[in-house]
């Protein structure tokens, strides 16, 4: 025990003291914060005030344009040519020309926006939205449809409250919130297994190429050396996570405070920035299902359970895979040799992340069931299923099998490791690896 803790200590300290660890730990959350804060800041900062001259020949829109923080509209009576000249002289940001024919059904409904360098999308959207709305209103009026009534009709919302009957308490759950949570936690597992698993492999390869390994195993058992490294690196991973969380929250809230960005804007930014959730975006487009509903849904998810499971699946998923990575490191002579053995290890991980979209849509399908039970895919798939409240016995079975998987890969890896670390300059085949499993001590 003393020996293993010495090894863990060394593996941990060597990595934590590295400059690259410090840089990654600081830079990680800074980058993350930038992704969320910069757009929010840019959107909210007092931009240059843009005045848009409006030449309205139809005479319909004088009351329709609403000024906002950045854009204001100024009706003018000069000719278009004069207005264009004024834009050139930077008196106005742009000039909007609304022809008389805008109401004429036989013409194309077109307005013209002249600006010096090309109008920004924001301005363009604002103009289009305003005019379109006004014309729609006018046409509704012409058809004798009461716009207020229509608004009232449109605002009817049907809320679908999904409830899970298998839980004792009929817990409200929100599909979208569950998908987001499932996705994010699965992705965290995926990335960290690779990140830290490869570190284990590199570490072992380093010991092998440095030739220190023979010195080491004349003092300690190969198994101690392997486990010490695996556990040491796991602690490095946990430390980095923790620091990222602390620093990340610190930076986001610190900056938000000083910049005066309120939390809701931040949340919206976060919302806009969820990548890869295609079906989610579709839902967002539907009126009535707004970000706030998703946050309401998030509130119904049992985060204690998810975080506890995230930790469990990270720990044992990592332990199971890093044992395999350790075996790869021991069986290879150089970085380039690792490729052939890395492939079969990566396949179940990549497969899990590929079918993740399917699992989110069908969290109770038989594929979801089996992949969340089988240890090689369960760390990722079970976390996707978790927010959808799978039966407890399935979680228990999956966890038990994962521990079993960890013990099995560790046994396997230890046997490959003790032979592999002493083999130099030999390209190893799978056939040979299988023989190593049965060598005597």
């Amino acid at each position: 025990m003393r020996i293993i803790s010495l090894i863990i200590q060394r593996e941990y300290l060597v990595r934590v003291r590295k400059k690259s660890f410090l840089i990654m730990t600081i830079l990680g959350p800074v980058l993350l914060a930038c992704i969320y804060i910069v757009p929010a800041y840019l959107m909210l900062r007092e931009g240059e005030k843009r005045t848009i001259a409006v030449i309205d020949e139809s005479g319909l829109f004088s009351q329709s344009f609403e000024n906002n923080k950045n854009i204001s509209f100024a009706p003018i009576n000069t000719s278009l040519a004069v207005a264009k000249e004024q834009v050139r002289q930077d008196k106005y940001y742009a000039v909007l020309y609304i022809p008389k024919s805008i109401l004429d059904k036989t013409h194309n409904r077109e307005v013209e926006l002249f600006s010096k360098k090309g109008a920004s999308i924001e301005v363009e959207d604002k103009v289009q939205e305003t005019i379109q709305k006004k014309i729609q209103d006018l046409q509704l009026k012409q058809a004798n449809i009461d716009t207020d009534l229509l608004k009232q009709i449109e605002s009817y919302e049907i809320a679908v409250n999904t409830a899970n009957l298998e839980e004792e308490k009929e817990q409200e759950s929100n599909v979208i919130a569950s998908s987001i949570v499932g996705y994010i936690s699965a992705f965290i597992i995926y990335i960290s297994i690779f990140l830290y698993g490869v570190q284990v492999m590199r570490g072992i390869l380093e010991e092998k190429t440095n030739r220190i390994v023979e010195v080491m195993i004349s003092s300690v058992k190969p198994f101690q050396l392997m486990m010490g490294k695996i556990i040491g690196i796991a602690l490095v991973g946990l430390t980095q996570f923790l620091l990222w969380l602390l620093l990340g929250f610190g930076i986001i809230y610190g900056t938000a405070q000083t910049l005066g960005i309120d939390q809701q804007t931040m949340m919206q930014q976060v919302e806009n920035r969820q990548p890869g959730l295609s079906q989610l975006k579709e839902v967002q487009k539907k009126p009535g299902l707004q970000a706030k509903d998703i946050y309401k849904g998030l509130a119904t998810i049992n985060f204690t359970k998810i975080i506890a499971c995230l930790l469990f699946y990270f720990l044992f998923g990592y332990l199971m895979y890093s044992a395999l990575f350790a075996a790869v490191g021991a069986a290879s002579d150089a970085d380039t040799d690792t490729q052939q053995f890395m492939f079969p290890i990566s396949v179940p991980l990549i497969f899990s992340i590929v079918i993740a979209t399917y699992i989110v849509q069908n969290p109770d399908s038989s594929i979801a069931f089996w992949t969340s039970i089988i240890p090689l895919t369960s760390p990722i798939i079970m976390l996707i299923r978790l927010p959808f409240n799978p039966p407890l016995w399935e979680i228990a079975l999956s966890m038990a099998l994962l521990i079993g998987g960890f013990l099995a890969t560790t046994w396997l890896a230890a046997r490959i490791y003790r032979v592999g670390i002493l083999m130099y300059g030999k390209k190893v085949s799978y056939k040979e690896l299988s023989k190593w499993l049965f060598y005597k001590g």
Binding site: R10, E207, V215, M216, L422
Partner: protein, 312 residues
Amino acid sequence: MSLLSARHITKRYANHTALNDVSIEIPKGSIFGLLGPNGAGKTSLIRIITQITAPDKGEVLFAGEKLSPAHIKRIGYLPEERGLYKKMKVGEQLQYLAQLKGMTKREATDKLKQWFIKFDIKEWWNKNVEDLSKGMQQKVQFIATVLHEPELLILDEPFTGFDPVNANLIKDEIIQLKQNGCTIIFSTHRMESVEEMCDYIALIHQSQKILDGATKQIRRQYRTNTYVLEGEGSLGTLPSEFQLLDLQQLEENHIKASIKISNEASPNDLLQILIPQIQIHSFIENIPSMNDIFIRSVTGTGTTIEPSAITV
């Protein structure tokens, strides 16, 4: 009394037998040479003694007890393939390796300070290993091997990689250690590099021990009663007890002759015959080197290659 006895050790790998029924006895306080060409099985035997691998058959006794993990800290091992953690500081690394051998950090630090003063390398403590030259790293490695004051020290190809100055430094250290009661195993395929230091040797060839015993005895056993004579003059006909094996005419009437003496005669008899004929410059017994002995015991021929010069 033997500090270590390996009895009937057999070790097989998938395609070949590394050791075939090898037994050695290593007396306490001796320097023991484990000699043989590359691939003979020396490293396999060492890995069994250091408990890196286990034998398929046979047993190893350490100070009379069956070899067990408890003995690890009583053994120091300098492998042929040497290495250190490159990105670690010299001092920390040595502390770490010593702690793995069961020393406390404080003990290790105290001992290390003595060694650093002895080798005059105090300024290395905070250097990264990768910043040291190869020879410097070898010194650090040597300290790591002996720091925990092992009773048994195993040195695999100890002098490769050392420059002559450092090789001598290490040689002196080894002799010092022996005087302090340490038992040392040398393993090497370059037999001439260690033979004068070894009290006992074992020759390993093709996974088998072909010869072992005290160095002096083996030498005596393998001597051929052949003498090499150098001098000025000309050699007449010798009596039948003496057989002229080789005669070289050197410049200015000098000769070099190799003469075998039969069991009935002595070297002094030969000298009495030679003195009237030749001005003798040197008269040396041709003692076989370990290399010769090795070749003779492997091939069964009696040719000697380079005489090892020991003046009688």
